[in-house]
Symmetry: C2
Subunit: 324 residues, 2 copies
């Protein structure tokens, strides 16, 4: 896992993934007490950065292997990213989802051309179902984060940040990244190590689900006590990955933690000041920039908005609480 | 008023206005029955294309004249665009607003550094107040649309559309533009005449406020019967401008008309599929692409989202009605 893989992924993604802009707002600068630069991956295809990793992983497969199709376990952003990337490669994608996944997510994934296989959380073993499908049909598993080509794809976001910040004359900044398993975080950290060594990545997680912050703090992988209970569902994972954690440990600053209400507040401010739709987990880094300013250093801070796939009802409740 | 003025404005705007991306979604393509390309000016500084015209007009002034400051009549997007452009030029801006303008709009305009002068709609004459201020203080009036340098600034959006479409291999398309007084519409039409002559601009207006469509149809300037009564307030004006109308008449195809509900529906789809916040008037062109498909020709259609400055309550009601 190295910078050359990220550069190679960037070549393969060219003309397929979007080069998202780097945005700002004087109103957000005022709240944060420094200049805030936003990398809106909610504007990426399928509404999250996951398309980058999906495309990178699928495009890296040997043509013969790829032609047999791919498989992923996900009811969220990874599912949609893999589904669209597979369709655009002209190959099949099987997405294994729990039967209680929201209908909208199932329908969206099917609409992107994927075959959705539902399983019963209580009685069926997801991994066994997936392994059997993969074996019987020769499908390649695309893991959500702990996979070098996926990390390389997410890292292309970091290459863009380095370029775009340089155009603005910014070479020193903390870069806050919404962090689940660490695919985006470690990918961006590797890209910045090479192209913007004056920058420092800070992972951001929801309170109570700060496995990465605690792992970084102690130097060994820590697990979350639970896997549900935060509105920031998109960035909750059991623990950092075996590949992502050593990268984060070597390159990242201390983790930052935000509350669900701070995520909602950041969503409302992204609506009002950036005209962007952020999902709760996707607003975590912006929330840290706005509401944890004493834990951040420097005149400039760069934040990812990692995704925008949020139900209307959840979005409305954030606006009701913080929208005026 | 010609293409050279637009190219000159583009040079002056470089590094100041955002080059907004050109976005798409397979879900919107399915609804529209053709490929839909979105130019999201809601992502422009101050949340609408108006920043382009404000910057272009202020930057075109002689330095001595500019130093005395500028004045604008607006309670909406033009006010914010002029206010920020003036502040970034280091000159004062006076914005004349009715005393019943929403507090949020007054506060936003002040926060962008402008001096807000309120007047009573019922008893005071806005133009007289503005004329006296302009005379006493030597301020230059920045008109909202019927002013060549403002049109030139809005036209830079058209230069970008031509470039971005060409990168996608698209040279023939109808370009739907949310249309009030015609500044954006005529500017884009002039830019495309020069750089993408296979494209045809179609103005889009709310039903009942289709002065431009009727003016184009009859070949003479027609007025709206009323100036309020549509949710698409940002694109309601009394009539097309004396400068903008001849340009539109020479270059545009027939106007398209959409309903308030179609605008709300398009807002909800921009939320779900593009992760963008569109204001009702800003969603008019997208609504036409999605819901007036029989009135549009070609495999590709390009639409502007002209702004995203919408109150949380209005946005929430659109999601409640069409958000699932």
């Amino acid at each position: 896992m190295n910078i050359d893989m990220i550069r190679a992924a960037a070549q393969r993604l060219k003309g397929h993934a979007r080069r998202t802009p780097l945005l700002n707002s004087p109103f957000l600068d005022d709240i944060a007490g420094r200049r805030v630069w936003i990398k809106p991956e909610c504007l990426q295809h399928t509404g999250s950065f996951k398309f980058r990793g999906g495309w990178a992983a699928i495009s890296a497969l040997d043509a013969e292997v790829r032609a047999k199709g791919v498989i992923a376990f996900s009811s969220g952003n990874h599912a949609q990213g893999v589904a669209l990337a597979a369709r655009q490669h002209g190959v099949g994608a099987v997405i294994v989802m729990p039967s209680d996944a929201p209908v909208m997510k199932v329908e969206n994934t099917r609409a992107l051309g994927a075959e959705v296989v539902l399983y019963e959380r209580a009685t069926e073993d997801r991994d066994a179902i997936g392994a059997k499908l993969a074996h019987d049909r020769g499908l390649t598993l695309i893991k959500p984060f702990d996979e070098p080509e996926v990390i390389a794809g997410q890292g292309t976001c970091g290459l863009e940040i380095a370029e775009q910040a340089d155009e603005l004359g910014i070479t020193t900044a903390q870069v806050l990244v919404c962090c689940g398993g660490g695919g985006l975080t470690s990918g961006i950290a590797l890209a910045l190590e090479a192209d913007a060594p004056g920058m420092r990545v800070r992972p951001v997680e929801p309170a109570g689900f700060d496995d990465v912050a605690r792992s970084l703090d102690t130097g060994e992988i820590k697990r979350n006590a639970a896997l549900s209970g935060s509105i920031c569902d998109a960035i909750i994972t059991a623990q950092p990955g075996d590949i992502t954690f050593p990268i984060m440990h070597r390159l990242c600053g201390a983790g930052l933690v935000i509350t669900d209400d701070e995520a909602r507040h950041a969503m409302a401010l992204a609506f009002a000041r950036l005209k962007l739709v952020a999902e709760p987990g996707g607003a975590a880094a912006l929330a840290a920039a706005l509401f944890r300013k004493d834990d951040i250093a420097g005149d400039d801070v760069i934040v990812t908005i990692s995704g925008g796939n949020v139900d209307a009802a959840v979005f409305q409740s954030a606006l009701t609480q913080f929208g005026s």
